[in-house]
């Protein structure tokens, strides 16, 4: 069980995890915030589909990868939470983000 050590007053922001709103402490990394919310696994590996969660918390292991605001493969231990952030567990290979209008490449 992940628990807060000092229960003094903190500020909170609202983020969503897989479309469910979660209130988390301001200033935390995405990884720390999701751990404190005791969400279990963060992703399922593209190789075997096994569940994983942060292992090193210092940017090395890549087990904390999640999808943030539509962008896959984000290291959640290096990114700070902010109000309205949309987070999804990363299941298997990272999904491709939908094409944006400026994606219509042309030959220069």
């Amino acid at each position: 069980m992940f628990t807060r050590v000092n229960k003094n007053n903190a500020k909170f922001v609202s983020i969503s995890l897989d479309n469910q709103t979660v209130k988390v402490r301001k200033g935390l990394t995405v990884a720390a915030a999701l751990l404190e919310a005791n969400i279990g696994h963060f992703r399922q590996t593209p190789v075997s589909g096994k569940p994983r969660a942060p292992f090193c918390m210092m940017g090395v292991c890549f087990d904390c990868l999640v999808v943030i605001d539509g962008m896959a493969n984000q290291q959640s231990c290096l990114i700070e939470v902010c109000e309205g952030m949309r987070i999804e567990r990363q299941i298997g290979p990272a999904d491709i983000i939908p094409e944006k209008p400026e994606d219509q490449g042309t030959k220069p």
Binding site: P46, A72, N73, P93, D103, Q104, G105
Partner: protein
């Protein structure tokens, strides 16, 4: 090191092959199949350089016309590769498409396809924009069409080298890795190849030394202008399946494909720096940036993927961009090197040609354009 000749001969064989890249391993296999005793000398390990770390394209599409008969013959072996080497080499038969981004590029491709037809080959075809979109749903809408070979493919390069080598070994071919050739001498009709730790004696010699092929040729008294280049490649994190076959571009340098495991390989010929003295290569990020830009332009959905690794393999480049496949001017010696960045598909036939030359002094494929004395 003349001293190495003072030692007694350590190994004897009918044929000594220098270089355990794909062409060296393939030559060893074809010879071993004929019951010939072979020893292969490799200064590093089998498949260490271009043979083992290339993009793995098995492509007839867009070949130099001189290579076309060889390439077509090789494609037949590729289609049956598992029966030949007891391993599928990761080979997948698939389409190869070269996209055209402008009407000018499209008409250039039409001219090319007609030219190939007139030479008697009918595997290259044109496709229009709608067909292109159907075949590659994620291709950028600005692409106007392209040319295609429906049954080319791709394979796993290192696994392919390994499969040829293991099959040759199972038939008695011997491989000595970490054995660099220091000198070559011919006495009484026998080649003596001196290495740092042994001397190999064989009546016939084959030079499959890739980027180092020029140095070996020089030891035989011949000049072949082959320079070392480092062709850069990069690979992405796994992505859901979105593209089949191999994709190139008419107006840009690109080789693009997605493996069954979801990773996408981006390459095509941007060069880093190669140092063939110490085996090192250095990546040039401005070249990789152009390559990434091209990939994003042709497939806009690539923008959010991550490049996990980049690397380069050392390859031999000739001035005219086609290989040396030729008897040497010295007796009983043969060359097959300098494939200039497109030798992987030719590997299976390259070994057959060299074994034919070794055993019969002739082959039924046209080799005139590949003579060593053309330079």
């Amino acid at each position: 090191m003349a001293s190495s000749f003072l030692k007694k001969t350590d190994f004897k064989a009918d044929v000594v092959i220098i270089g355990a890249g794909l062409h060296g391993c393939s030559t060893a296999l074809h010879l071993a199949l004929q019951g010939v005793s072979v020893i292969v000398l490799e200064k590093d390990y089998a498949g260490r350089h271009a043979s083992g770390v290339n993009a793995g394209g098995v492509r007839r599409l867009g070949r130099h016309l001189a290579e076309m008969p060889l390439s077509v013959a090789s494609a037949k072996i590729w289609q049956e590769i598992e029966g030949f080497v007891d391993d599928d080499c990761g080979f997948r038969s698939s389409q190869q498409i070269k996209v055209a981004e402008t009407p000018e590029e499209l008409s250039k491709q039409e001219t090319r396809v007609n030219e190939v037809r007139q030479s008697g080959f009918h595997h290259e075809k044109m496709i229009d924009q709608q067909t292109l979109r159907e075949m590659l749903p994620n291709v950028s809408p600005h692409c106007v069409g392209g040319m295609i070979v429906e049954d080319d493919g791709y394979a796993n390069p290192f696994r392919t080298v390994q499969a040829f080598r293991l099959k040759a070994q199972s038939l008695g071919a011997r491989f000595r890795e970490g054995t660099k050739v220091a000198n070559i001498k011919r006495e009484r009709g026998i080649w003596f190849v001196g290495c740092h730790d042994c001397v190999v004696e064989a009546p016939k010699l084959v030079n499959c030394a890739g980027a180092w092929g020029g140095e070996i040729a020089k030891k035989l008294g011949e000049n072949a202008f082959v320079s070392a280049i480092a062709l850069m490649l990069m690979i992405t994190a796994r992505m859901p399946a979105f593209v089949t076959g191999v994709v190139g571009a008419e107006g840009r340098t690109l080789s693009f494909k997605q493996f069954p495991n979801g990773t996408v390989l981006i390459g095509g010929g941007h060069e880093g720096q190669a140092n063939k003295d110490d085996n090192t290569t250095h990546l040039d990020y401005s070249g990789l940036a152009i390559n990434a830009h091209t990939a994003r332009t042709i497939f806009p959905i690539m923008r959010s993927t991550r490049i996990v690794r980049a690397w380069a393999g050392i390859e031999g480049m000739t001035p005219d961009g086609i290989p040396v496949i030729s008897p040497s001017q010295a007796d009983d010696a043969f060359h097959g090197f300098g494939f200039s960045g497109h030798g992987f598909q030719l590997g299976p036939i390259g070994g057959k040609i060299l074994s034919d030359l070794v055993l019969d002094d002739k082959t039924n494929l046209p080799l005139e354009p590949f003579r060593i004395d053309r330079f």
